[in-house]
């Protein structure tokens, strides 16, 4: 189906979210929609999906003007959307999830007709290589497969236009490839795909056409063959962007963080970190790579005192960490937590109040029980300027800031204290290129000041860009420590996948302190090379 958006304008009080946006998606085309957070991609897709009504402009499908009052209309017209956060019922089976809302029934009895539904699901999934067990419960499926269920859901509803909202954000590199295969297969069969993403390399790999949005307007359209990452980044941000982090070789000195034999249980009581050893030295960045859910969260929580370890020890600058986050902060640790809104910030508090979240009880911000407004405001004013936090004022609710600026609030708070160790979990998750560049620069600055840095990230680009050493974590263990020069995305991807190297874990070199000339002294995991 040919989809045309003409002159779409959507205004919100005080903001124009989309201004005269034109977009044409040909049948069978993969059309990438690129833009920073707040560029208007989501608004545009919500207009297309019937969640918002445009103030101006029209939507045409195969030349006919259509208006959608709600998503039901859009679905009926053949538009399907896979949201970034999956809309699945975990305790239902794949079949139940897919037929939810379009249940087929047997005759007039009203009984659900699972058989027909199931056979249609099998048929749809076979056609495009979307391998899924229709009887599996969704809660038992890995993220990549859940995403396939979402895609089948749209195809089951006979979608001709498929909107994928940041589909690769939750996938491993291997799963990315599988998704791309599926997308190509769908496109060959005539489905039009709108692919929303931040990731420039993916756009260049998969898209037929690229449209870039900035501040609600289309700034340009191009084809992968005619452009490159730098140009796309510049189009998105409106200025040229450094995609590679500028950093010299690390000059590590003595270890600041020493982890030995650490085992940690997760909330469900499973062993999430399994007798792990790792040292991080002053002046180096150790990047922990791994697929989400391999114990990185629990590792970071144990280091920062948020979770009591089962056994083993964590030492920061020589002294043992106890399960007391305040003591850890006071020992000179900065922590950029994994989830901005669940842990890092308090939406409902002002920017200024969030900037003192873990120092509020200390002088000069408090004297006894009294909060010292002047001191807080003075510091907040400096930090807002220094870290370029874009907010109308420091008195605004931090929940109303964009993701990038929220992350800057955390970075400003954590980096402005005197610190010895920086622990950051997914420091740039969901951020646009401009913000990523900025935060990476700040992290490298800290390293150069002699801070020991531990980063946990599921983004390979980030791990490769920042890490002076790259530790790959799989099922609670560090299965290899690589030097960036030998860490290719493929090799990391394989290690992160784990299974192929299961028998090689034993021969991995132990993750311990190494001589100071670490820049070149990476330990190559023989298995990593062998597995290629």
């Amino acid at each position: 189906m040919r989809l045309e958006l003409h002159g779409i304008t959507k205004r919100f009080p005080g903001v124009v979210a989309n201004e005269g946006v034109d977009l044409v998606v040909e049948p069978g085309q993969i059309h990438a929609l690129l833009g920073e957070n707040g560029a208007g991609k989501s608004t545009l897709m919500n207009v297309l999906y019937g969640l918002y009504r445009p103030d101006e402009g029209e939507i045409r499908l195969d030349g006919k003007v259509r208006t959608f009052r709600d998503p039901g209309d859009a679905i009926a017209a053949g538009i399907g959307m896979v949201h970034q956060h999956f809309m699945l019922v975990p305790v239902f089976t794949v079949t139940e999830n897919i037929m939810l809302g379009v249940e087929s029934t047997r005759g007039r009895t009203g009984f659900l007709d699972y058989k027909t539904a199931r056979s249609r699901i099998v048929e749809v999934s076979e056609r495009h290589g979307l391998h899924v067990d229709p009887d599996a419960r969704v809660e038992d499926l890995p993220v990549g497969v859940r995403q396939r269920v979402e895609i089948i859901k749209t195809l089951y509803r006979k979608a001709d236009v498929l909107i994928l909202d940041e589909p690769t954000a939750v996938l491993t590199p291997q799963e990315d490839e599988e998704l791309f295969e599926i997308m190509r297969s769908l496109a060959r069969a005539g489905t039009s795909i709108i692919f929303i993403t931040h990731k420039l390399n993916e756009v260049l790999e998969i898209a037929d056409t690229i449209t870039v949005l900035r501040r609600g307007k289309v700034v340009g359209s191009t084809r992968p063959a005619d452009t490159n990452q730098g140009e796309l980044a510049a189009m998105m941000v409106g200025r040229s962007i450094k995609l590679v982090v500028d950093k010299g070789p690390a000059a590590p000195t003595e270890p600041v963080l020493s982890i030995s034999g650490l085992s940690v249980r997760d909330d469900r009581g499973h062993l999430a970190v399994d007798s792990l050893d790792l040292d991080v030295r002053a002046g180096e960045i150790v990047a922990v790579a791994g697929v989400q859910g391999n114990g990185q969260t629990e590792l970071i929580e144990a280091i920062t005192g948020l979770r009591a370890p089962l056994s083993g020890s964590v030492r920061i600058a020589g002294s043992e960490v106890r399960a007391a986050p305040r003591k850890v902060f006071e020992a000179g640790v900065a922590h950029v937590p994994e989830d901005r809104l669940e842990e890092g910030l308090i939406p409902g508090f002002t920017v200024a109040e969030n900037l003192i979240l873990n120092t509020y009880y200390l002088e000069p911000y408090a004297k006894g029980l009294r909060v010292q407004r002047d001191a807080i405001v003075a510091t907040a004013g400096e930090l807002v300027d220094q870290y370029d936090i874009r907010t109308p004022s420091m008195f605004n609710d931090v929940g109303n800031l964009s993701g990038g600026n929220q992350q800057k609030v955390i970075v400003a708070r954590e980096f402005s204290r005197p610190i010895k160790l920086l622990v950051a979990s997914q420091p740039t998750r969901g951020l646009d290129v401009g913000s990523i560049e900025y935060i990476h620069k700040r992290i490298v600055e800290k390293r150069d000041e002699g801070v020991a840095v531990l980063i946990a990230s599921t983004e390979l680009d980030e791990v490769l860009a920042l890490g002076d050493r790259i530790a790959v974590m799989y099922q609670g263990r560090i299965v290899g420590i690589l030097d960036p020069s030998e860490a290719t995305p493929e090799r990391l991807g394989l290690l992160m996948g784990g299974a192929q190297l299961a028998d090689a874990i034993g021969v991995m070199p132990p993750a311990g302190p190494r001589p100071p000339d670490a820049g070149s002294a990476g330990v190559a995991p023989s298995a990593g090379g062998g597995a290629r």
Binding site: F12, P13, G14, V15, A17, N37, G38, A39, T43, R215, G216, V237, G238, L306, A324, P325, R326, K327, V328, F329, L341, E342, E343, G344, L345, I346, P347, G348, F349, T350, A352, L357, N358, Y360, Y361, L369, R370, V371, R373, D374, V377, A378, A380, G381, V384, D388, R390, T391, P392, S393, F395, N396, G399, S402, G403, G404, N405, D432, G434, S435
Partner: protein, 443 residues
């Protein structure tokens, strides 16, 4: 949270001058930082009348709507109206409207006094007439006094993410402690005895609230369940102590306590009027709660835990201790409600002395947006409704129960802001304090 609000260009836009222009133009924004030299800076935006106005929209419309529906009830519940409707529909409607104005007029004069009477009394210079003219206001403030304390107790809990339904029970315990200190301790001058009795009341409420706070912190027991159950226990505790020799008034068989001694009695604010110093204490309590919540490190912790326990834990706050402390502070305020009622208004303890102050308090905290000043305003409103209801019934025959219905409607509309916005077609504004309510239910 207004999810629909799109990210503005200033939140991610790369062009800072552009962002500043937008910032300057946006009506919803405070002044851009930093303020000019000499400008007094606060962590909180300076008083923004427009924001306050937005915050008042829902409560004011809720009250208005409740009064309109109350008017229909006055008309439709009158049997004479239905009789007259058959013969003379227009006349019936006219009479009905007349009744509404008469009833609401009586409600207002019963709670605020009649302006002409006040003017005449002042003009005549007769002190007795002046006292009489101000009596309705005195009764309103008297009724408002325990409501302010109790409303503050609930509001403080809301802010810390706690839904303290046990204010009623804590208030009973406060009353027991205050009364006992008020009659059992003898030989002290008033300036020692009275504060002691007030503190005893606080202590009683605090102890009663400590239990659910402690259980929540240690075992995760939900405070809603525990406090409801403890309310029932508190009624029985009152019955028990009132039957205990030494507490029960000698020579009486019915459950009634001994009288509070004059040295522990809160004196009237104005001679011959019933409103007492307790009202003044309630205003001080509101100021203290306001300071505690918004100007102290403890309040920062309370609000942080209430809004986002995950981030509070991350920031090194002790969630359990904060929960217990907030619960105890809330209970102490509830205890003050009971204690002040004993020491100022009633003078002795009887089983049903509270007409549900602790439950009205939940409504007050909601109506007041969990802000101390809002609670005071809401409590005075409810106090006025309560004080005016009896004169209304006496004057027009409209039953006092109408006031209960109006209160219930106000609460319903405040608890469902979307309903009010739908009725008056108001676009979704910014968040108000009432969201704290729903948060209070959370895990």
């Amino acid at each position: 949270m207004s999810d629909e609000r799109p990210k503005g260009p200033w939140e991610g836009g790369p062009d800072s001058t552009f962002a500043r222009e937008i910032a300057a133009g946006d009506e919803a924004l405070d002044r851009p930082h930093p303020t000019g030299p000499g400008g007094r800076r606060t962590i909180w935006p300076r008083i923004d009348l427009r924001a306050i106005g937005r915050g008042l929209v829902v409560p004011v419309l809720a009250i208005f709507t409740a009064l309109v529906i109350g008017a229909f009830i006055i008309v439709l519940s009158d049997p004479a109206f239905w009789q007259e409707l058959a013969t003379d529909p227009l006349g019936a409607i006219a009479t009905g409207i007349g009744n509404v104005f008469a009833a609401y007029g009586a409600l207002i004069t019963g709670s605020l006094g009649s302006p002409t009477e006040i003017v005449q009394a002042i003009g005549s210079g007769d002190s007795k007439a002046i006292t009489m003219a101000f009596q309705p206001i005195s009764e309103t403030l008297l009724s408002a006094t325990p409501l302010i304390f109790a409303g503050l107790a609930v509001a403080l809990g809301f802010r810390a993410g706690l839904f303290n339904i046990g204010v009623e029970g804590q208030l009973y315990l406060g009353a027991i402690f205050a009364v006992y200190a008020g009659f059992a301790i003898t030989g002290l001058p008033w300036f020692i005895h009275l504060p002691l009795a007030i503190l005893a009341g606080m202590l009683g409420g605090a102890i009663w609230a400590f239990v659910p706070g402690f259980l929540k912190a240690r075992t995760g027991a939900h405070e809603v369940i525990v406090t409801i159950m403890m309310n029932y226990i508190s009624y029985q505790v009152v019955m028990l102590v009132l039957k205990t020799p030494g507490f029960q008034r000698p020579g009486r068989d019915d459950p009634i306590s001994q009288n509070v001694l004059p040295s522990a009695t809160l004196p009237p604010l104005i001679p011959d009027l019933r409103v007492h110093v307790g009202f003044f204490l309630a205003l001080i309590a509101a100021a203290v709660v306001s300071w505690l919540l918004f100007r102290s490190t403890k309040g920062y912790e309370f609000r942080a835990v209430g809004l986002n326990p995950g981030a509070a834990k991350y920031a090194g706050m002790n969630i359990g201790r904060t929960t217990i402390l907030a619960m105890v502070a809330s209970g102490a305020l509830a205890g003050l409600a009971g204690g002040v009622e004993m020491l100022g208004t009633q003078g002795n303890l009887t089983p049903g002395f509270s007409p549900g102050y602790g439950f009205d308090a939940i409504a007050l905290a909601l109506l007041g947006g969990s802000r101390p000043l809002g609670v005071v305003a809401a409590a005075i409103l409810f106090g006025a409704l309560r004080a005016g209801s009896t004169p209304m019934q006496a004057a027009t025959g409209t039953p006092v129960d109408l006031v209960v219905v109006i209160q219930a409607l106000v609460i319903m509309f405040v608890a469902a802001p979307a309903l009010v916005r739908a009725i008056y077609r108001i676009k979704v504004g910014r968040t108000t304090g009432t969201e704290v309510f729903s948060k209070g239910w959370g895990a």
